[in-house]
Symmetry: C2
DNA sequence: AAATATTAATGAATATAATTCATATCAAAA
DNA sequence: TTTTGATATGAATTATATTCATTAATATTT
């Protein structure tokens, strides 16, 4: 283990280490920084031999950071944040710190993580007009084009000229049941299990509900539906045995831990959904939009469990 | 001016910006980071077009940092310091934070900048035995080989197996005169001007005094000599008109500003000297030695004026 | 227990991007 | 005006980061 005379450390390494810390796996981290697993493996190897220390340790098939790794992750956190702050200053200097960010949500549960994010954003970009476009919108792409919103957060759209989909993350949708529900015995729920149940959903059309679109409809199953506006309302209905729901895994942890409801995987490999932030191409290059996207990804990966990087 | 979607900023850029700030010129900065002037010019251009802002501004033939440039330099300062701190921690983790650093000085004036440096070093590396090897040593290389010292600070040595010369900086040696000395009228002093003067030097052999070796001896001039141990003593003798001296420019500023003495260039292009830190090859790879060298260079470039990067 | 699927590590090949080289441009000094 | 010292620029080169293809190792499934 010899050491080169000058530091080989680059921000690329710190970005990798941060992603490694957030995702807990080399291949997920690789997705997060848009590189291959191999590339990261080489990067880590280079760092280890440079410092004469191991940075990660294989624990079974997962990896764990060593003390040295944690020290570098701590550095990465500080440094990357300082860089973000500097880049915000630079954007202000180039008079690119003004404009509007009106956010439209295709996905009701996204409120959960969006609220704190918006608070932080307001601090960092006081001169950007921040708004939440309320209500349901049948054609989000049109909304962007007509200037009704600057970002739409939802699923991917068919490739379209002038629109960019910025990948956020992939999450699992779990079935939510009352603790004493008969289906509690099954570890995994399949389409047939929903046949005689009442499905509790947000008040949106069928084709916007992944469970119906990707699981039930293909199996020819059409359960009864009942709707509620708010996530807590849905959970309340589930807990009082009025039916079952399908919700993103991240918002469920607290309720499941307190035995208010139970959660079950849907179909063998689970029902997954990908979340994107879509903008017009011209909007995509604005510094505050880019900053919004990076902090969105950062805070989501830091706070929501079970999500996976896209791309 | 379009912007790429992800930050292209790397530590390399920050190292460049820091050097640019320290040296005030692209080509000197290039020397400092061991690259060509062209490489830095390309780096800066890339940053500027990435952020859509100019970072430097040509003021005549020199360059000046813009506000954006200064912001990035501030970032660089913080970030590079944090990295140094982290690398010290890592060295401790790999048990490479112990050993000895006995410093021998070939150059008397180096005391001036070495003292505060040693204080900082003691803080950062409490488990490294730090010492100053006192007295004059005829053969510094032998001193290293026999283990009498770990670093020798002085001029370059003939390439020798097992010894590495780490370049520190180049500095100018100025003639120092009493303010009312007859030679005050001349802007530049030449060998002949020293013929009838008494030369006041440190108590070292002639072949270790650059003025004699490179200017006077080649011109066949052998002025009287008188010696003093300390820089202040030499200056005192000069001020009281006992003779003239030749000292590094950096230590003179205060005395010249207070009209205690005056300083003059020696020979047309000035008399310059290069300072190196020499170690055994094996010592060179120790983290605390590398840290010592970088902080030495950093503090010198930050505090001593008129010095120029080597290599 | 065997088979299959994940995940990470590795060496060689490739692609990318940083640096150098050669030269042009510019401002200041001689 | 000529010369000198400094930066900018495009093309060529070099360096090196990343990918590809494969192996090894550990879980998970049948």
């Amino acid at each position: 283990m010899t050491m080169s005379l000058v530091s080989i450390l680059e921000l690329r390494h710190l970005r990798t280490l941060a992603a490694l810390h957030e995702t807990g796996s080399v291949s997920r981290a690789a997705k997060r920084v848009h590189l291959t697993q191999s590339a990261l493996s080489h990067q880590i190897k280079a760092l280890q031999s440079h410092y004469g220390l191991s940075i990660i340790q294989r624990r079974g098939q997962a990896v764990e950071l060593t003390d040295a790794g944690k020290r570098l992750v701590a550095l990465a956190g500080k440094v990357l944040e300082e860089i973000q702050a500097t880049e915000r200053s630079l954007a202000k200097m180039s008079q690119q710190a003004t404009g509007s960010l009106r956010i439209a949500l295709e996905c009701h549960t996204c409120f959960d993580w969006l609220m704190p994010l918006m608070d932080a954003f307001r601090q960092h970009w006081p001169d950007v007009e921040l708004d939440l476009v309320s209500g349901f919108h049948s054609d989000p792409v049109k909304l962007l084009e007509e200037g009704g919103a600057d970002v739409v957060i939802g699923s991917e759209h068919k490739r379209q000229r002038g629109i960019v989909d910025h990948p956020l993350f992939r999450f699992e949708i779990l079935a939510v049941l009352a603790p004493e529900h008969p289906l509690r015995r099954k570890r995994i729920l399949h389409a047939a299990d929903f046949a005689d149940e009442t499905l509790i959903t947000y008040p949106v059309p069928e084709d916007r509900i992944d469970l119906i679109l990707n699981v039930l409809k293909p199996a020819g199953i059409h359960p009864e539906r009942r709707t509620a506006e708010l996530t807590v309302a849905i959970l309340q209905l589930v807990a009082s045995r009025r039916g079952i729901a399908a919700l993103p895994s991240w918002g469920l942890k607290n309720y499941v831990d307190h035995d208010y409801v139970i959660a079950r995987r849907i179909s063998t490999h689970g029902l997954w959904s990908d979340l994107y932030a879509s903008t017009l191409t011209e909007t995509a290059s604005r510094p505050y939009l880019r900053d919004f996207l990076t902090t969105a990804r950062n805070t989501c990966f830091a706070t929501l469990d079970g999500i996976i990087p896209l791309e």
